[in-house]
């Protein structure tokens, strides 16, 4: 195996490793008698002017974005946050039952929904207020956004799989079949046929919220 081939191997190993590698660990992957140090030095030279550098940290080696380009990555530090279980479930309920009020979500889930949960979903721009119920207190109703459809690659919320399809796909596996007839896709909004969309109000609130 020639020097170039050995360089390629080290390069691939360093690239694919999830932690810095010592020259000893690298040497183990090379033919006996290979000079890991020489190879690492050559690799370092090869990458000197690249957007990525090979650096030695605490005696081990790793690839790292060139320090003058760190600005490229910095603005992405608003890193991904994980949605809580409650948030995912709330999102699913809003998607399936929209338009739905917070009280209705609580009734469907059987537990309280904190304001923060819906806020998180609105921050992700997956949920928005869509109107108010014509019931006492005129509670706000929530629905999903365009971004929601994009995120999940849906054409419309009607494309969400129904219960029977979830079952067929294996999602409801551990549900006793005899109970499944209780799992109908009932329309949650039988009693409120009218959904007032007072745009002025809801949109102005939306601005305040977001």
């Amino acid at each position: 195996m020639n020097h170039h081939e050995q360089m390629r191997i080290c390069e691939a190993l360093l690239f694919a490793s999830d932690r810095p590698l010592s020259s000893i660990a690298l040497a183990e992957q090379l033919p006996e008698g290979s000079d890991a140090h020489a190879i690492l030095e050559d690799l370092q030279k090869k990458y000197k002017d690249s957007g990525v550098n090979l650096v030695e940290v605490a005696g081990k080696w790793m690839f790292q974005t060139a320090s003058d380009l760190a600005f490229l990555l910095r603005k992405e530090e608003e890193k991904e946050r994980k949605l809580s279980r409650a948030a995912v479930e709330t999102l699913a309920i809003i998607a399936y039952h929209q338009p739905v009020t917070r009280a209705e979500i609580e009734e469907i889930r059987g537990v309280g929904v904190s304001k923060g949960t819906i806020d998180v979903l609105m921050e992700a721009i997956w949920v928005k207020p869509v109107g108010r119920r014509r019931t006492p207190g005129r509670p706000m109703t929530y629905g999903t956004t365009e971004d929601f459809l994009v995120q999940f690659g849906l054409n419309s919320v009607k494309d969400l799989p129904g219960i029977s399809e979830l079952k067929a796909a294996g999602f409801l596996d551990n549900v006793n079949t005899s109970r499944l007839n209780l799992l109908s896709d009932e329309k949650p909004d039988e009693e409120q046929p009218d959904l007032p969309m007072d745009d002025d109000e809801s949109s102005s609130e939306e601005q305040v919220i977001s």
Partner: protein
């Protein structure tokens, strides 16, 4: 065996683990021994067609039918449980065989036997082709198995619009889990306070003995109940009870108009009818 089997679509063959370790048996016995390894009748047909050692397009359907029917009979003789699918296929193949052997009558509505046979061949070839593609697909260099992405990625722009990420799978899983829990919660509904049909029948028959003239069913409802659910339940049970008593010939029902009040009166037991019962 299947190595000799020549197919011009592709020369790649799915590894067939279920045939390993059974080298002493001939092909068909091997198939029967491993009936549980099969995924439906098409799978068996495909395996049988391989024993013909010709291109799939040139297999003899009659021979294949014979092989399949023998296979089913042997499996039955060995008392192996065959799913209904296999038997339906056997019945259909027997039908196809008879049509292939008998002189064809000209019929506009039905496909000819040759066309049916061609369809079967096509289905087998299609399944075979998909298997080969599956094997080719899996043998490609796979990410995370043969080739690797950066092992220690640094935070980059991937999500410009969302700081949250969620897969369709996670969303559906959450909804399904919620539905699952809901199902359990629904079971608890049965703890509700109800007025049973037996209670209603008992009450109604007692009271009918007292009132022999037409009386609105409403009059018989127990009073003093405040729980709305229980009132509903009482109404439903009393209504059922009235139907029940009418059926037994112990009461008569009358309703003068649609959605109007329901009147009920007790009925003297007719001795003749009683005999009939």
């Amino acid at each position: 065996m299947s190595d000799d089997w020549d197919n011009d679509i592709a020369d790649f063959e799915m590894p067939n683990p279920r045939l390993t370790g059974l080298d002493d048996l001939d092909d068909e016995e091997r198939l029967i021994v491993d009936i549980e390894g099969f995924e439906g009748p098409l799978d068996v047909l495909l395996a049988l067609s391989r024993t013909q050692k010709v291109d799939l397009k040139q297999i003899s359907i009659l021979e294949l039918v014979k092989q399949y029917l023998e296979f089913v009979n042997k499996a039955r003789a060995l008392r192996l449980e065959l799913a209904a699918d296999y038997l339906v296929m056997a019945a259909w193949l027997a039908y196809l065989k008879s049509r292939l052997l008998l002189p064809e009558e000209d019929s506009e509505d039905e496909l000819s036997a040759e066309e049916l046979a061609a369809r079967l061949t096509h289905q087998l070839a299609r399944l075979n082709a998909m298997r080969e593609r599956a094997a080719i697909l899996m043998s490609r260099n796979q990410m995370g198995r043969d080739v690797f992405a950066r092992g220690a990625p640094e935070a980059v722009i991937i999500t410009r619009y969302h700081t949250y990420d969620l897969s369709m799978y996670e969303l559906l899983k959450a909804y399904a889990e919620h539905k699952t829990r809901e199902a359990v919660a629904d079971i608890q509904i049965f703890k509700r306070n109800v007025y049973t049909l037996d209670q209603a029948i008992e009450r109604l028959s007692d009271m009918l003995g007292l009132a022999l003239d037409w009386t609105s069913l409403e009059q018989f409802l127990p009073s003093g109940i405040e729980d709305i659910q229980l009132i509903k339940s009482t109404k439903a049970s009393m209504f059922s009870a009235s139907l029940e008593l009418a059926k037994m010939g112990r009461a008569e029902l009358e309703q003068k108009q649609l959605f109007g009040p329901l009147f009920i009166r007790g009925r003297k037991q007719d001795p003749i009818e009683e005999e009939n019962e």
